[in-house]
């Protein structure tokens, strides 16, 4: 009897051993096959496209969400009904997994609708080639709003984003420059946002231009010159005030009587706007004077006043 039990146990053990060996072999085979297949897939799938401008800002989602909540909670509580999560999702959907040279205004339509808000009359402040100065001005004088002081502009200012057809759908390495393709996510965004900002303006609007730029204070190729002035609504906007600012101690390339300004004035008058142009609008000039206190233009009392 013990001999029979012994041989049965041995057979059991052998079966067990063979079973384990077969399982191990199958496992090894599976691992080898899997690595071969994925390796093959990696060689076949396209890598991300390479562009000349900086890539998507890292932590884009956190920055956008934080800015959105910051804007509606801490700065503009009257916009409390805005859904920041939805706004972020609509921005992401506009460009993720898409070829960054194929972006259309329709891609941004949901975002524009979710994030737009009315602008009080007489407060719209447009600008061209005066980015630093105009934003220092609106930061210290909350009576005026540039596009970058609206929710849309505030969220998008100084950051970049673009997608790519391959995973993860966002390109953090590089994004297309305008010279590489015009229908890129950034350019399309700013064109649409600028158009809507102009359409929303009412009453008296202001524009800050740079009288120290060689190429002229007003240029038809700028967003202001190509999009904003043509989207001001003559039924809502009554007057356009131009503030022509020259750098303190800088070149006085152009003033209100200059060529490009005359061209701007004629374009606007043709659309039935009343125009007033002021050289070196004093409240803004005082801000420039903070950094040039000893210049003659920054004397407290001037003979001309």
């Amino acid at each position: 009897m013990p001999l029979q039990q012994g041989s049965a146990r041995m057979r059991q053990r052998t079966v067990l051993l063979v079973g384990i060996v077969v399982l191990l072999a199958a496992l090894v085979l599976a691992v080898v096959l899997a690595s071969l297949l994925t390796h093959g897939r990696q060689e076949v799938s396209p890598k991300m496209l390479k562009w000349k401008d900086r890539g998507t800002t890292k932590n884009l989602q956190e920055v956008i969400l934080g800015r959105c909540y910051n804007y509606i909670t801490a700065q503009h509580p009257e916009l409390g009904d805005k859904d920041c999560l939805k706004i972020w999702e609509s921005l992401k959907d506009a460009f993720i997994y898409k070829n960054p040279c194929n972006i259309t205004p329709e891609d941004y339509q949901p975002l524009m609708e979710l994030a737009s808000h009315p602008i009080p009359c007489n407060k719209s402040l447009f600008w061209s080639k005066t980015g630093d100065l105009v934003h220092r001005y609106t930061k210290s004088n909350q009576n005026f709003l540039t596009l970058e002081d609206t929710l849309l502009g505030y969220m998008a200012d100084r950051i970049s984003w673009c997608g790519d057809p391959s995973a993860p759908g966002i390109n953090y390495e590089s994004c297309p420059k305008r010279s590489e393709c015009e229908s890129n996510p950034g350019s399309v965004f700013w064109k649409m946002a600028s158009k809507m900002f102009a359409e929303a303006a009412c009453g008296v609007v202001q524009v800050m231009l740079n009288g120290s730029v060689e190429a002229g204070a007003f240029r038809s190729s700028s967003i202001f010159g190509s999009i904003e002035i043509f989207n001001l609504d003559p039924d809502k906007v009554s007057e356009v005030h131009i503030w022509l600012m020259q750098d303190i101690g800088g070149p006085q390339s152009e003033s209100c009587s200059g060529h490009s300004i005359q061209r701007l004035i004629s374009i606007l008058e043709e659309r039935n706007f009343k125009i007033i142009c002021e050289d070196n609008y004093r409240p803004v000039q005082l801000l420039q004077c903070v950094h040039n206190p000893d210049h003659t233009d920054c004397r407290l009392c001037t003979n001309s006043t």
């Binding site: 800002t57 932590n59 956190e62 800015r67 909540y69 920041c84 100084r158 950094h291 000893d294």
Partner: protein
Amino acid sequence: KWKGEGTTRNLESIVIGRCYDYIRTVNPAVGEKNCSQIWEAFKNAFINKDPCRILPEDYELFINLTFHTIPPNKSLFWENNQLLVNSFADRGRRYMSLGDTLFGFIGDFLNWCGQADSPGLDYESCPTTMECENNAVESFWRMASITYAQHSSGVVHVLLNGSAHGGAYPQPGFFADYEIPNLQKDKISQIAIWVVDDIEGPDIDSCGTHTVKTLETRLETLGYDVTCTDNHK
């Protein structure tokens, strides 16, 4: 319950967002920071705690995680003139005020306090400093001011409001109580005081008079080289 405004809604998203905004767009020179960790450290200073028992030291980990050096000659202290300071400092490019540092940037214009019960934050109301001194926001700014002063060096600037009722140099005040005592004498070459009046405002205080004189004397007694300018252009 308390007399002050409650905790700002979406505080977590705002704090984390501001943290990334700062390191990615405002001042990338500070390098990588772990913003989730920073939020945790900030929150743990006051969440689920008695809102009247928060001390500056409770923010020590937060300060350690958000710390970065302040460039010499760029420190700008101020009292009663925040808008002017912002346009003068030019977002940290010309001067770096406390609000232009990462730790100051995160907390600016926000409000917060904890409570013992869930969810641990009180969104309805928070104690004012009159109700209790050791509240979350007051202790935050004390800690931030102390740190900012300790790491300032070179020529240090102080912007005071000559039109402020009660004087340009308020006592008690953050500058008087938390910043001056924490300035490092061996790192500071000069203290330049600017007294600026509001446009068309009253000229209540100026260099050499009233509270400004008190400040000048105090700093000189401490051994600092002090200059003072009125309505610095």
